[in-house]
C-alpha cells in the first residue's frame, strides 16, 4: 500500500512545480484568498437560498433587525445554524482528510480510517439503546467520546510493538472499524428505536441540529485545527519516508501523535454532529492537491476551505433540488459528488502521494 517516497515523486510533470517559487507562492496565496471569497459566497447562499423563498432584503432584515416574522424565524433558527455548521464541519473534514492521507500516504484514506466514524456511530446507538438519549444535543457527547476512544485504541494497537507505521495504523483502524460496525449492527437489529435514531444520524445532515450543538463541539474543532496546522511541516518531512525524516531530525512519534490527535478531534467533532460524511474528507484533499501540489502548508488550508465550500454548497443544492422537500447533505454529496470526483480523476492525473 505504501510506496517509497522516491518512487512516488511525479518527476516534475505537474505544471506548478516548474514555476519559479516566488511566483508560485503568490499564485497560491491568491488562490487561497479566492477560496476564502468563495467560502463567503457559499455561506451567503446558505443563508439566502432555501425551500422557502425569502427576498434578499428580508434575509438582511432577519440578520440585522429581526422582528420575529416567519422569515426571521426561518433564517435565524434554520439557515444560520446549518450554514455555520456546514462551514465548520466541511472545513474540519477537509483538513482531517488531508491529514489522514498524508500520514498514511494512502490516497484512498478518509477521516474514518482510524475508526473515528465507527466509534461515533456505535456510541450514538449505545446512547439510545442503553441510556435512552436520543436528542442530538445529548448524543453529541456520546459520539465524541466514542470517536476519541476508538481512535485511542487504534493508535495504541497500531503503535504497539515499536510500530506506528502508516500500514499498522491503517490496519488497526480497519480492524477496530469492522469490530465496531458489527456491534452497531447488533444494537440496531436488537432495537427498533435505536435503528430509527441510527438511520437519522447515519445519512448525514446539517438540519435539526440546533444552534447550541456547534457551540458544544467548537472547542474540539479549534484545538484540532491548531494541531493540524502545527503538524504541517512535520508531515512534509514524513512524506520522504520515516528513515529520511528521522535523518533530518524529525521525531516520528510526536509527529504521528499530533496528527492522529488532530484527525480524531476534527473528525470526531464533525461526525458527532452531522453523521459520517466522510466523502468530503476523501475527495477534497485530491482537489486541493491538484492545485497546490503535495506541500502540506498549502494543502491543509486549501483542503479546509474547499471542504467548507463543498459541504455548504451541497447542502444548498439539496434544498432546491426537490422542493418543497429537501435532500440530506450526505445524499447530495453521494449523488452529485461521486460523478464529480470520477470526472476529476479522468480529466487529469492526480498528484500522487
Amino acid at each position: 500500500m505504501t510506496r517509497t517516497a522516491a518512487a512516488d515523486a511525479p518527476a516534475g510533470r505537474v505544471p506548478q512545480r516548474t514555476a519559479r517559487p516566488a511566483r508560485r507562492r503568490v499564485r497560491l496565496l491568491v488562490g487561497l484568498l479566492g477560496l476564502l471569497v468563495l467560502a463567503v459566497v457559499v455561506g451567503v447562499l446558505g443563508i439566502a437560498v432555501g425551500a422557502r423563498s425569502i427576498a434578499p432584503v428580508d434575509v438582511w432584515t432577519a440578520l440585522v433587525a429581526p422582528t420575529g416574522t416567519d422569515d426571521d424565524v426561518v433564517v435565524r433558527a434554520l439557515r444560520l445554524p446549518r450554514t455555520a455548521l456546514g462551514l465548520a464541519v466541511g472545513a474540519a473534514l477537509g483538513l482531517a482528510g488531508a491529514l489522514i492521507q498524508g500520514h498514511t500516504r494512502n490516497p484512498l484514506a478518509d477521516p474514518g480510517l482510524l475508526g473515528v466514524s465507527a466509534g461515533a456511530a456505535f456510541a450514538v446507538c449505545l446512547a439510545v439503546y442503553a441510556f435512552g438519549v436520543s436528542s442530538v444535543t445529548g448524543s453529541v457527547w456520546f459520539a465524541l467520546a466514542g470517536a476519541l476512544l476508538a481512535s485511542v485504541v487504534v493508535f495504541l494497537l497500531g503503535t504497539s510493538g515499536g510500530g506506528g507505521s502508516p500500514v499498522t495504523l491503517a490496519l488497526a483502524g480497519a480492524a477496530v472499524t469492522a469490530f465496531l460496525t458489527a456491534l452497531t449492527s447488533g444494537l440496531v437489529l436488537l432495537d427498533s428505536v435505536t435503528l430509527d435514531a441510527y438511520r437519522f444520524w447515519v445519512v448525514g445532515s446539517l438540519v435539526g441540529r440546533g444552534d447550541d450543538v456547534l457551540a458544544q463541539v467548537a472547542p474540539f474543532l479549534l484545538v484540532g485545527l491548531l494541531l493540524a496546522l502545527v503538524n504541517a511541516p512535520a508531515l512534509d518531512t514524513l512524506q520522504m519516508g520515516e528513515d529520511v525524516a528521522r535523518g533530518l531530525g524529525q521525531r516520528i512519534g510526536p509527529a504521528r501523535l499530533t496528527g492522529v490527535a488532530a484527525i480524531t478531534l476534527l473528525t470526531g467533532a464533525a461526525v458527532a454532529v452531522t453523521g459520517p460524511i466522510a466523502f468530503v474528507g476523501l475527495v477534497v484533499p485530491h482537489v486541493a492537491r491538484a492545485i497546490t501540489g503535495p506541500a502540506h502548508r498549502w494543502l491543509l488550508p486549501y483542503s479546509g476551505l474547499l471542504g467548507a465550500v463543498l459541504l455548504v454548497g451541497a447542502d444548498v443544492v439539496g434544498r432546491v433540488l426537490v422542493r418543497p422537500a429537501e435532500l440530506p447533505v450526505g445524499l447530495v454529496l453521494a449523488v452529485v459528488g461521486a460523478p464529480f470526483f470520477i470526472a476529476l480523476v479522468r480529466r487529469r492525473r492526480l498528484v500522487s502521494l
Binding site: G50, A51, R52, D70, V73, V74, R76, A77, L78, R79, S134, S135, V136, S192, D196, A197, F200, S205, V207, G208, R319, R323, P324, A325, E326, P328
Partner: protein, 334 residues
C-alpha cells in the same frame, strides 16, 4: 370489550335475516363460522383475483390491522405480524391485548418482508394482506403457500372500510363485515354529533421531525377518520404538497413550517419529544401551534392506533384523541 356488543348485535341480525331457515345461524356465528353456502368466494386485489373454495379455518394476516377485523368477527388468526412500532413489549398493539391469545396466534417478524417458511409452517388456509405493500413476486410466493388476498390498489393505502369488506368476504361473512362498518361509522358519527364545534374546522395532520416534516394527504386513513369527525383538511396542505396525488404523505422542508395554515393541527413527533417540538422556535411558527390549537403526541401505541385505522382501533383512537382535539378546537376559535 368493544367487540362483544357488536357481536351480539350481529348474532341478532343473523337471526333476523336467517328467518325461515331451519338452521340456527346465530350459533354458527358464535363459533366464527360463515353462513352456509357462502363459498366459494372471490376477492379482487391489485394482482388479480383470488378464489377461496371453502371456509378457511387457519388464517394468517399480514400488513396493518387485518387481525382487527378478524377479532371483531370472533376469529383468532394463526399468524399475525408483530408490531415493533406501536406494539407493547410483546409486539401486540394495545387494542389487541384483550383478544390476543399466544397459544393460538404466532407472531411473525415481517421487518424484512413476510417470513415465508414460518408462514408455511402455520399451514394457513388463507393469507389475508389487504393493507400491505409487497410486490408481485412476494405475492406469488405467498400464493404458493395458500390462497392470498393482497391489497386492492396502491401499497399501504387501503381505506379501512375496504379492508374490512375484503376480509369479511374472504371469510364468507360479508354481511357481518358490513354491519361492523355500520356500527363503527355510527360510533364515529356519535362522537361528531357530541362535538358540533368540529364541524367545518380546518386541520392538518403532520409528522414533526428534527430535520424534515411530513403532511398526511387525503388518501391516508388517518386523515379520513378526522374528516369523518366533521373537520376539513386545510387547503394549505394541498398547496404545500403539490400534485403528488399518488402518495399518502408529502415530505416538506422545515422551512415550510410557517406555511401550514389550519385551524387545528394534529402532529406526531418524529425523533423529537413533545417538549422539544413545543419549545422549538421553528415549530412555534406553525400557526396552529402558535395558537395552542395543536394536538402534539409522541405515544407510539396511540400513534399506531391512529395510523392503523380499523373497527377495533377507531374506538381506541377516539377515546384518546377526541378530548384533546376538543381542547385544540376551543383554542382555535377563541
Amino acid at each position: 370489550m368493544r367487540a362483544r356488543p357488536t357481536l351480539s348485535a350481529l348474532a341478532a341480525l343473523a337471526l333476523l335475516t336467517g328467518c325461515g331457515s331451519t338452521e340456527e345461524p346465530a350459533s354458527a356465528d358464535a363459533q366464527g363460522e360463515a353462513p352456509a353456502g357462502a363459498f366459494p368466494v372471490e376477492v379482487a386485489h391489485t394482482f388479480g383475483s383470488t378464489t377461496i373454495e371453502e371456509q378457511p379455518e387457519r388464517v394468517v394476516v399480514l400488513g396493518w390491522s387485518a387481525q382487527d377485523t378478524l377479532y371483531a368477527l370472533g376469529v383468532d388468526p394463526v399468524g399475525m405480524p408483530t408490531y415493533t412500532w406501536g406494539g407493547g413489549d410483546d409486539g401486540v398493539v394495545p387494542w389487541n391485548d384483550e383478544h390476543y391469545d399466544p397459544d393460538v396466534t404466532t407472531l411473525l417478524d415481517t421487518a424484512d418482508g413476510p417470513p415465508l417458511e414460518e408462514i408455511a409452517a402455520l399451514r394457513p388456509d388463507v393469507i389475508l394482506a389487504p393493507y400491505e405493500g409487497f410486490d408481485e413476486s412476494v405475492y406469488l410466493d405467498l400464493s404458493a403457500i395458500a390462497p392470498t388476498v393482497a391489497y386492492p390498489d396502491q401499497p399501504w393505502t387501503t381505506p379501512w372500510r375496504e379492508q374490512t369488506r375484503m376480509i369479511g368476504t374472504a371469510l364468507g361473512r360479508a354481511e357481518e363485515a358490513e354491519q361492523l362498518i355500520a356500527d363503527t361509522e355510527q360510533q364515529v358519527a356519535g362522537v361528531a354529533a357530541e362535538h358540533p364545534e368540529f364541524e367545518g374546522l380546518s386541520f392538518a395532520y403532520t409528522s414533526l421531525g428534527a430535520d424534515a416534516l411530513y403532511l398526511y394527504l387525503p388518501t391516508d386513513p388517518r386523515v379520513q377518520l378526522v374528516e369523518d369527525l366533521g373537520l376539513e383538511l386545510a387547503p394549505s396542505v394541498a398547496e404545500l404538497a403539490g400534485d403528488d396525488a399518488e402518495s399518502f404523505y408529502a415530505q416538506l422542508s422545515l422551512e415550510e413550517a410557517p406555511e401550514i395554515e389550519s385551524d387545528v393541527l394534529i402532529g406526531w413527533t418524529d425523533g423529537l419529544t413533545v417538549e422539544e417540538v413545543l419549545t422549538s422556535e421553528l415549530y412555534a411558527s406553525v400557526p396552529a401551534i402558535q395558537r395552542n390549537a395543536a394536538v402534539v403526541l409522541d405515544d407510539t401505541g396511540f400513534a399506531a392506533a391512529a395510523s392503523m385505522v380499523s373497527p377495533l382501533s377507531i374506538p381506541y383512537t377516539l377515546d384518546q384523541l377526541v378530548d384533546r382535539l376538543a381542547e385544540a378546537a376551543a383554542n382555535a376559535s377563541s
